[in-house]
């Protein structure tokens, strides 16, 4: 029982992980260095709150991206004078974003072509 539950949990996160990474990279590209809380809020806003992001999932994703060398975290001070860790895109991350975005758009285009007739029927 326990094991099965865990398994599906993991599956969900894994699916999310790829898109979440792309969202983080895009946001950082557009907004410049941000801290985790700001990123969470920004992603919620951008998605019109369609993604009620479990804020917990953001941080492991950040760790991953930093290990991949696509973003780099640095401690700094926030607008309201709080110490926070700010993440910025690295040049490697910027290149990665370009190729990821292209790939994503291509896939989205393909999927849309498939979905077109379905929509037309309904």
């Amino acid at each position: 029982m326990l094991d099965t539950n865990r398994m599906t949990d993991l599956d969900k996160t894994d699916v999310l992980q790829g898109t979440l990474a792309l969202m983080i990279l895009t946001t950082l590209d557009a907004m410049g260095p941000m801290h985790g809380y700001g990123l969470a809020r920004r992603i919620e806003q951008m998605s019109d709150h369609a993604i009620a992001l479990n804020q917990g999932t953001l941080y492991p994703a950040l760790v991953r991206l930093e290990q991949q060398g696509w973003i780099r975290g640095k401690w700094g001070t926030s607008d309201n004078n709080r110490r926070a860790k700010f993440y910025g895109l690295t040049s490697l991350g910027r290149r990665q974003l370009e190729s990821e975005a292209t790939r994503w758009l291509r896939i989205a285009g393909i999927v849309e072509r498939f979905l077109g007739p379905v929509r037309g029927r309904s």
Partner: protein, 886 residues
Amino acid sequence: MTRWRILWARVAEFVRSGPVDRDLRDELDAHLDLATDDYIRRGIPASEARRLARRDFGGESGLEHTREAMRDRRGLRGLDTVLQDVRYAGRLLRKTPGFTIAAVATLALGLGANVAIFSLVNGVLLRPLPYPQPDRLVTIWESVSNPKDGPTRIAVAPANFVDYVARTRSFAAMAGVARLGRNLAGVGTPERLIGDEVTEGYFATLGVAPFLGRSFVADDYAEGANQVVILFQDLWQRRFGGDPALVGRSITLDDRPYRVVGIMPKGVTGLTFQDEMDPPGLVTPAVFPADILSNRQDHEIRVAARLRPGVPVDAARDEMASLSAAMAAEFPGAKNTTTGLEALGADQAREVRPLLVALVAAVGLVLLVAAVNVASLLVVRSNARRREIAVRFAMGATRARVMRELMTQSVVLAILGLGAGLVFGIWAKDLLVALAPPSLPHLDAIRLDGRVLVATSAAAALTCLVFGSLPAWQVSRTRPVDALRASERTVSASWVRRSRSLLVTAEVALSMLLLVGAGLMVRSLIELNRRDLGFDPAPVVAATVGLPPARYRTPDARLAFFEALATRVASLPGVEKVAFASRFPLRGGWTSGFLLEPVSGPIEEAFQQAGFQAVSPGYFATLGIPLRAGRLLEAGDREGNLPVAVVSEEFSRAILGGANPIGRTFSRGPSAPIITIVGVVGDIRRGGRATPVDAQVYLPAAQTSLYPARLSEIAVRTNRDAGALASAIPAEVWAIDGGQPVTNVRSLAETLELGLAERYFQTFLFLLFAGLALALALVGVYGVMAYIVSQRAREIGLRMALGADHGRILRWVVGQMAWLVTAGTLSGLGAGLLLSRSITQLLFGVTPSDPASYVAAAAMLVASALAASYLAARRAIRIDPVSALR
């Protein structure tokens, strides 16, 4: 690429794991603070804002989850848990020193035995030949077929060898080697050494040239050329102190000067073939006289060859086979001769291979029994931890995590066992080398090297898998809910009993297998020792005196030397009888063809074979060979009188079909003297107990024209200790001729022992391994019996309370074990019948299914197993019914 970057980042994080932990905690705190600020800015009271910030994160569990997820991502989380598991396993093992010591000692015993046997196999079987590309070297031999013994391997005729060199294409080089004893005189005490005569292809075959001086050149092989010699490193160092100036100087071999033209480099020994133990000290060019090169019946050289690059062994063998078929058609004299070809390294190890393979199997079985024993201990142990493990499941530990922890414990045990096993193994290996018969090749090369370490570690890993998987499997089938229930105790107890019973049955079966092997070896030894030699080796001391042909040119000169020596030796204290001969039994000997009169049909087909020795009249009395009919050889049987011979009983049976041989005549060839048989003596096994009885012909040593075999040995029958004579005989030799090396001075009984040493060695090892396995199995039987008794304490108490007497209880308890032991013994017996065929080559005089060995092994096993379970069961009857039932 990315994967490497992540790994690198993780390693870096692992190295500074302290700050990273704090870093991620701070980061989450900052997040909460920022979120709280946001809520406050929207007009929510501070305490409520804090709560909402935490809620957005999924509450305390969400925070913990995130922290855990980040920690998992960060650093070497896997290594962390491994270290944690190792530390935990170490703590558990320290807490139960009794269990740990028992398990580690058991494993060390099994692995140590493996270390010793692996070292032996590594040194003897896997050692490469000391030449470049050793796998390209092959040996070629010839075989003759006779109806009685089938094909027999013999040396190669030089006349054929010349054709093999000229008419084959598979070989880059081919070397013919004739082994000679050489007397080295002139520096220090005279010494008898092995000096091979070699053909021109020798050094090309080795693939190594002298490092000082030169190889032999074509001129060295011309008849009448200067005598030249090339020394191997060992002899050069030992006798000449490694003096480089020796090259170009002369040394004295067999009373003739030989010029040293080269020294072979260190580590390169001369070629040895199958049954040759020692490499030569030096080599000289082989010059074959014309009469040898025209006689295809004269088999006297060994042949090695280096394959041309890219030519497989099988292709070379096929080429040799078709060549020898072609030659058989061309030369009628060679019609019975075929050739064989084998990789040289494999061929050298051919004799010992079956023994070593059997030893590896035996020692593997011992290790398996050890592993099963440890498995049995672990099953009890992991069962005792069942509740703890169930609680861990309930707390959310995954099954994989718990199994990994249990496996870690097994691995830690295996590593401890491996360490202890290596220490024990080094000692056991030295013991093994000390006990090993000198006939095992390359004993000096037996040492613990990387290969042995790898093999032993692999064995330890396999062992670990055997004993570690059972407890892990036990956990894998545990349902957390059940484990926590009280009733589970009895269920798991029966599971433990069942698995331990199965394990003990396996142990008994494996021990049975080894006991059967040992039993067959012991039976072989008994059979062998029961065989009659036909002579009495115990009181006879023999010595070899290799008279150099240069000084003792004629047979009469050699006869005169030995007659003088016999007279002197006869007067030594303690000497009862003295004799000299071409060879004494157990020390080699000659076989010759002869023509029984009257000859009918074509002469080539009339030749028959028998052992031929030239002997002095005292030969039979010295060896204790009885006279059966006619007369023995006498002092009067000398040159000029009637040529006579004495034959063995087997000669009458095999050659004459049982007819009386006395008065019959034969010759050694169409133009040789006619010899009359005057007596019949008892049969002997010339080569020792394991050899068959062959027809023997004894010719008088004093009738020197009858037989060219050189007189070279003297023997005495003594009533004293052999040791005194061993030094007295050489002294008498040197009193006559100071330059003569005297070799191989020992009693025939000692030679007999040496010949049997390998058999004793293998029997000893099999007994040892069977004993080890049996001891381990008995420990297992005792442990399981004790476990059954402790589990059944209530039942036993109840039965006793109901009036069952002690005998009944004992029978009932031991009876349970008797089933397991019987099952194990029977499966071992069945496996023995199947597998013992593979050691047929190691047996003598018994079949692999010899009933006596099986019955003895089974009886011993059942008796000792029942004794062990009785000892454990005695505790059962000491159970106090009242306390057991409470």
